[in-house]
């Protein structure tokens, strides 16, 4: 890796990415604004979120110019943690299933918290 001074990337790439980030942010705001619900909402917002995160890490935090070992060192633990998140999600489902099967249904939907906003 030719270091330090030689590492000047064209400044335009930053502006391009900033532009993209704003577009993506606008996208996720639209999801919220248009009240998209259910899995679609989830999927869209998470995709926007990950894309933004990816761009920032890759460009602004110079990840794509790092050496492979460094990239791996960062991606591998993150990967393990993502798997942890997936497992926890499964665990949450399992716990909830036992609750729904064996416990009496809740008396009423929580009314106390529909305070006007």
């Amino acid at each position: 890796m030719a270091q330090v001074e030689g590492q000047q990337h064209p400044i335009s790439i930053y502006f391009w990415v900033w532009g993209l980030l704003f577009v993506l942010s606008a996208g996720s705001y639209m999801v919220d604004y248009l009240q998209v619900q259910g899995y679609l909402r989830w999927t869209l917002i998470i995709i926007f979120m990950l894309l933004k995160a990816g761009f920032i890490t890759a460009i602004f935090m110079h990840m794509i110019w790092e050496r492979l070992a460094m990239t791996l060192a960062i991606l591998v633990p993150t990967g393990v943690l993502l798997a942890f998140i997936a497992l926890m999600s499964l665990e949450g489902d399992y716990t909830n299933i036992t609750r729904e099967t064996f416990f009496a249904p809740a008396p009423h939907v929580a009314v106390e918290h529909t305070v006007s906003h």
């Binding site: 716990t95 036992t98 609750r99 064996f102 416990f103 009496a104 249904p105 008396p107």
Partner: protein, 452 residues
């Protein structure tokens, strides 16, 4: 050199210990013989590795110990040897893992014909629920739990009405039938373990876990809690009794269903007053107790506790030990209350009596007593008023000489040793922690200082 000999002795000793010592798995009493097989297999594989690696180690120490003129080999690695060792180790691991996973597969898949039974854990007791004729357990919830509904049954659930509620530490099971045990906790984590059944599982508050087995031996088995659950963890005991189908049905029929329990009439104090005439001879007209007659104070004591003790006296669970002189006096008196209604009535009458504080007669080091009492607080409460939820009677303001005697009785196994006295058994373990008579006096002296 010495180290090699010691290693050799330890290897041989370990192997001999394994085969000769009397301490090993308890005799199996369920269908899980394949768990024992996986353990046996693991012992063979690991035992082999243990002996071979350590013998080689000992031999190396002898063979290659320092001697003049000898120089070590220079061999940074040996790819072929390392690959072989890796391969063989992987084989050994697979040999242990594969059967393990297969058996686990059986464990997570409950057979279709398994009957469901619920075990409920709470600090530091067990209780059980068996589905009634509809073979379905009703739903429950923590928000329904109170003194009248300790199981937290959902009153609106038709499935739960015929559930048989067993408020005691003893579960009976028919032999040869697969059981799916549903595990529910009211407060903290617990664990249902019967060593002879091999399987165990935690009870987790806020969800229901399960395990299954088929009992294959008739007999009585201890249930231990094996997940730490608070200060009396070690005293949380129960019992599984495996018996023939007919005995099991008879046992089951002796318990009431949820519907029957909720429709039970309350005791009649007026009727109880007549019956109490007999009791008043010793316990006094106001239930204030009489030290000369060795009769404790009754007024102010909790109804559920007195009821349980009367039943114990009647059934011989209490007052049948030959050294329990005073208990033996009470036992025949209790039998005069023939029916449950009679007991309820008498208790209802005692509840109407005014709570007269008993005079203090025991003296001791109050400060030391306070320290010791820290271990009692968890059940009897910080002010010693007792807690039905923990099956702990009131101790503050009760007859102090009586407390001393009962603590001694518990400690010596005169009380609480009977197999049917399941709550007393717990108290024997706690009383055993009081080292001597002086400590008991100090403790009771402290209890005397508690607000009445």
């Amino acid at each position: 050199m010495v180290i090699a000999i010691v290693l050799f002795v330890l290897i041989v000793g370990s192997v001999l210990f394994h085969f000769l010592s009397p301490w090993y798995l308890t005799p199996l009493a369920s269908n899980w013989s394949n768990i024992d097989d996986t353990i046996g297999l693991t012992f063979w594989v690991t035992g082999f590795v243990f002996v071979v690696v350590n013998l080689f180690l000992a031999w190396c120490v002898i063979r290659y110990r320092k001697c003049d003129g000898h120089k070590a080999d220079y061999e940074p690695e040996n790819k072929k040897l390392e690959s072989w060792l890796t391969g063989l180790t992987a084989l050994g691991v697979i040999a242990m893992l594969a059967p393990g996973l297969l058996v686990w597969g059986e464990f997570v898949t409950v057979p279709e014909d398994a009957s469901e039974v619920e075990a409920v854990g709470q600090q530091w007791h067990w209780s059980f629920r068996v589905p009634g004729v509809d073979n379905k357990l009703g739903t429950t919830d923590v928000r329904f739990i109170n003194a009248d509904n300790p199981f937290g049954m959902n009153p609106d659930d038709p499935d739960g009405q015929d559930d048989v509620l067993i408020a005691g530490n003893e579960l009976h099971l028919p032999i040869g039938k697969p059981v799916k045990l549903l595990l529910r906790s009211k407060d903290v984590l617990h664990n249902f373990t019967v060593a002879q059944f091999r399987v165990k599982m935690d009870l987790v508050p806020g969800m229901v876990s399960y395990l299954w087995f088929t009992p294959t031996e008739v007999g009585e088995f201890d249930i231990l809690c094996e997940e730490y659950c608070g200060v009396a963890h070690f005293a949380m005991r129960g019992r599984v009794i495996v018996e023939e189908e007919a005995d099991y049905q008879a046992w089951l029929n002796s318990y009431s269903t949820y519907a029957e329990m909720s429709s039970q009439p309350a005791g009649n104090a007026a009727a109880g007053e007549t019956a109490y005439a007999v009791c008043s001879v010793c316990h006094g007209t106001q239930g204030e107790g009489n030290v000369a007659l060795n009769s404790p104070k009754l007024n102010g004591q909790e109804a559920w506790y007195m009821k349980r003790q009367l039943e114990y006296f009647k059934s011989g669970a209490r007052g049948s030990h030959e050294d329990d002189v005073y208990g033996k006096q009470m036992a025949p008196m209790a039998t005069t209350l023939v029916t449950d209604t009679a007991i309820n009535d008498v208790i209802a009458y005692i509840e109407t009596l005014p709570d007269i504080p008993a005079p203090a007669t025991v003296t001791g080091d109050v400060l030391h007593g306070q320290e010791v009492f820290a271990n009692c607080v968890a059940c009897h409460g910080a002010d010693g008023q007792g807690l039905q939820a923990l099956n702990a009677p009131r101790v503050a303001g009760m007859t102090d000489w009586y407390l001393v005697r009962q603590l001694q009785n518990f400690k010596q196994g005169i009380r609480g040793a009977h197999r049917k006295d399941m709550y007393g058994h717990q108290m024997t373990m706690m009383a055993a922690t009081l080292p001597d008579e002086q400590t008991i006096n100090d403790l009771v002296a402290y209890i005397n200082t508690l607000p009445q």
